[in-house]
């Protein structure tokens, strides 16, 4: 790891001010991605500003039909939270199959979506549930937030403070886990909103990051059941291909994971 200067911020305002004083700072939440990337010398921030101990970024709130998870809440605290389990059990499940137990103690929802890895789990949940990303400056709809591989709508120095999820009628998530990294080879999040809309998002599949899957949405809108997806055809064009799976394999995984997610949805 290259030299860097570590700061621990005690508030969002302090973090913003530290960012402004640094030449090339990065915000650090759980560090489960940023630190490995710094160790590989793929990132060399002049300053690292730790958000992990900021109280206003911790916790979960359930208010009516909105579940709000603050940005620096760890995966472990999300998966064990009673409100999350009650309101959107699919999010508790998604978090429980993310990384491994030690990673889940450190990694955070804000860190995951700010990084927007094309195979990360949370972007699929946000997109399928129609979540809103809250920052220290504004609210951003999930559709506008994710902008391709490792790219988001966040501006320099902007800090995610929370994610608000409308509580759905039903939701489910399933993924084919990469056996070593635990990332999604492909994962699909399905949701039926309380107004009857069906939204489906896939991660680990597209070359441009998390994506909606309109063909599956239409099939499920007509008939919410795994068999409704049998006749859907997913094109391999634009899908990721690597040593772990071809684009055609991933196209099929989108269908199969969607079917499993519907079967598991509650």
């Amino acid at each position: 790891m290259y030299q860097t200067t570590y700061h621990r911020a005690s508030s969002v305002d302090e973090a913003v001010s530290l960012f402004g004083k640094s030449s090339e700072a990065k915000f650090l939440a759980g560090g489960q991605t940023l630190l490995p990337v710094m160790k590989q010398r793929l990132a060399s921030p002049s300053d690292v500003i730790d958000l992990g101990k900021i109280k206003e970024l911790q916790g979960v709130e359930l208010s009516g039909d909105t579940l709000t998870i603050k940005a620096a809440t760890t995966y472990y605290d999300i998966m064990t939270n009673a409100d999350v389990k009650k309101a959107i059990p699919a999010i508790a499940y998604l978090t429980s199959v993310l990384g491994d137990p030690a990673v889940r103690y450190r990694g955070t929802i804000g860190g995951s979506i700010a990084n927007n890895d094309p195979a990360a789990d949370f972007p699929a949940a946000l997109l399928a549930l129609g979540a809103t990303v809250k920052t220290n400056k504004r609210s951003i709809a999930a559709e506008d937030f994710f902008q391709g591989l490792f790219s988001t709508a966040l501006e320099d120095g902007e800090i995610i403070t929370a994610v608000s999820f409308p509580v759905p009628a039903k939701a489910g998530y399933e993924k084919m886990r990469h056996p070593a990294s635990r990332f999604a080879l492909t994962g699909v999040f399905v949701a039926q909103t309380k107004s009857g809309e069906v939204r489906v998002a896939a991660t680990g599949a597209s070359q441009s990051g998390v994506m909606r899957v309109p063909a599956i949405e239409a099939a499920l809108k007509a008939n919410w059941s795994p068999s409704a997806i049998d006749s859907v055809s997913i094109s391999a064009s634009g899908l990721l291909a690597d040593i772990h799976g071809t684009a055609e394999y991933r196209a099929n995984l989108v269908k199969v994971m969607a079917q499993r997610a519907v079967a598991a949805a509650s």
């Binding site: 790891m1 290259y2 030299q3 860097t4 200067t5 570590y6 621990r8 650090l28 560090g31 489960q32 630190l35 490995p36 710094m38 160790k39 690292v48 730790d50 992990g52 472990y76 990384g99 491994d100 137990p101 030690a102 990673v103 103690y105 450190r106 070593a180 990294s181 635990r182």
Partner: protein, 161 residues
């Protein structure tokens, strides 16, 4: 350079380190607590697992500064004098190790697993929960046996307290 103050195995310590220092480097290189190992250095293998404020974390994937003010327990801190921790004793009795490289991390993760699951542990759960700890010798069979054995011993020990 920064001064990091933390409690390690019950002892308050204050260490001057470069800001890029990892927690595992602080433990091994500055405090000479070399029981915590570095295996992969990429957050996959779990040889570096220690407890921070009671939670099993990968000390190769934390800056020392992030542990400022924390309570750290390493493999050196779990035995009571000459009396092994029940998890250590169970690993010995069940041949839960061969080369021993992964063992400190296995034991620290396993204690965390037992603490989280209490009496609800079965073989499938142990195998699933150990996914962040990699062993290249044992095929995990005796490690899983050791964790299940220790879960019983820890329950008995807790009841006796």
């Amino acid at each position: 350079m920064s001064t990091v103050k933390l409690t390690v195995n019950g002892k308050a310590v204050s260490v001057d380190v470069e800001d890029r220092t990892l927690l595992v480097q602080l433990l091994r290189d500055h405090l000479n607590l070399t029981g915590t190992h570095v295996g992969c250095d990429t957050s996959q293998c779990g040889a570096c697992v220690v407890h921070m404020d009671g939670r099993a974390v990968k000390s190769c994937t934390m800056l020392a500064g992030q542990a400022d003010g924390a309570n750290i327990t390493t493999i050196e801190g779990i035995a009571k004098g000459d009396e092994l921790h029940p998890m250590q004793a169970a690993f010995r009795d069940n041949h839960g190790l061969q080369c021993g490289y992964c063992t400190p991390g296995m034991i620290m993760s396993a204690i965390d697993i037992v603490q989280r699951h209490g009496g609800q542990l079965d073989e499938a759960t142990v195998r699933q929960e150990l996914e962040g700890n990699i062993c290249r010798c044992t095929g995990y069979h005796n490690i899983v046996k050791a964790v299940l054995d220790a879960a019983g011993r820890m329950k008995v020990a807790q009841a006796a307290e």
